[in-house]
């Protein structure tokens, strides 16, 4: 799962701390999401998209990983 959170944050001049506070998670979670190490829940994904006033598809892009589309290796 790829995401554009870093780009959107830069466009909105928002820090990781501020975004974390707005969506109700820790800064570490935002860092992990930006690094594609953690795949957020749908709820958090929609919350992030709403903060940036964009559609969720503009934030997250699903890509089949090497283990297949049903893998759960986040």
């Amino acid at each position: 799962m790829k995401n554009r959170i870093r780009v959107l944050r830069a466009e909105h001049e928002m820090t990781q701390e501020q975004l974390a506070e707005l969506v109700g998670v820790t800064r570490n979670t935002i860092i992990s999401i930006e690094k594609d190490k953690y795949c957020p829940s749908l709820k958090l994904g929609f919350r992030i998209a709403r903060i940036f006033n964009v559609d969720i598809n503009n934030v997250f892009t699903y890509e089949d990983d090497k283990d297949g589309p049903l893998s759960d290796n986040e």
């Binding site: 974390a20 109700g24 998670v25 820790t26 979670t29 992990s32 957020p40 829940s41």
Partner: protein, 192 residues
């Protein structure tokens, strides 16, 4: 209150409660834990309510749940092996001390018995002798001699019994843990 302050408070309260419970157990005062433990929980919950930042989010919860599951797997496997090994000491004869009893007829026709304890796993002999005692008249055994006899018999199994007890405790702990895990699993399975 920041998260680090909350964690520090929790640690201090936890240490204080542990110290109080430890002291009360040593002093034989069982009323202190009944008061201290709920009081500690209340203080920690009050601190938690005053935390203005996010303590645990979905990522944290997922990590914790996975960690708990892995811990459970490791503890169950390691605990099962430890329990079996420790319990096997109960039935392990070569590791218990060798206790020999030898009967002999005295000059006046009475029977005497000499009981000797040898080192575990060794051939009985003067070099491996730990201690011995003689009951002069077996048929007129007094209380002291009977106690000594019982002590020898008991001594032969004591070490292994304590290991076996440790094994049983581990085994029972594992069973309890699995039962609790099973109960929570069923609860969350129905809830979500």
């Amino acid at each position: 209150m920041k998260r680090i302050t909350y964690l520090t408070c929790s640690l201090i309260v936890g240490c204080m409660v542990a110290a109080m419970v430890g002291w009360s157990m040593a002093a034989g005062n069982f009323l202190v834990p009944v008061i201290a433990i709920p009081l500690g929980i209340i203080v920690i919950l009050a601190c938690r309510a005053h935390v203005d930042t996010v303590i645990a989010d979905e990522r944290e919860n997922r990590i914790r749940s996975r960690a708990a599951l892995r811990t459970l797997e490791v503890v169950v496997i390691a605990g099962s092996i430890a329990a079996i090994i420790l319990y096997s000491y109960v039935v392990s004869i070569p590791l218990s001390p060798i206790i020999n009893g030898r009967l002999s007829v005295n000059d006046d026709g009475t029977q005497s018995m000499t009981i000797a304890e040898y080192k575990p796993g060794s051939a009985p002999g003067p070099d491996t002798l730990v201690r011995s005692t003689t009951i002069k008249d077996l048929n007129a055994m007094n209380e002291t001699e009977a106690m000594a006899y019982c002590t020898y018999v008991r001594e032969g199994f004591r070490e292994n019994e304590s290991r076996g007890l440790a094994g049983m405790i581990i085994g029972c702990s594992l069973v309890s843990m699995l039962a609790i895990f099973g109960a929570f699993y069923l609860y969350y399975d129905r809830k979500y």
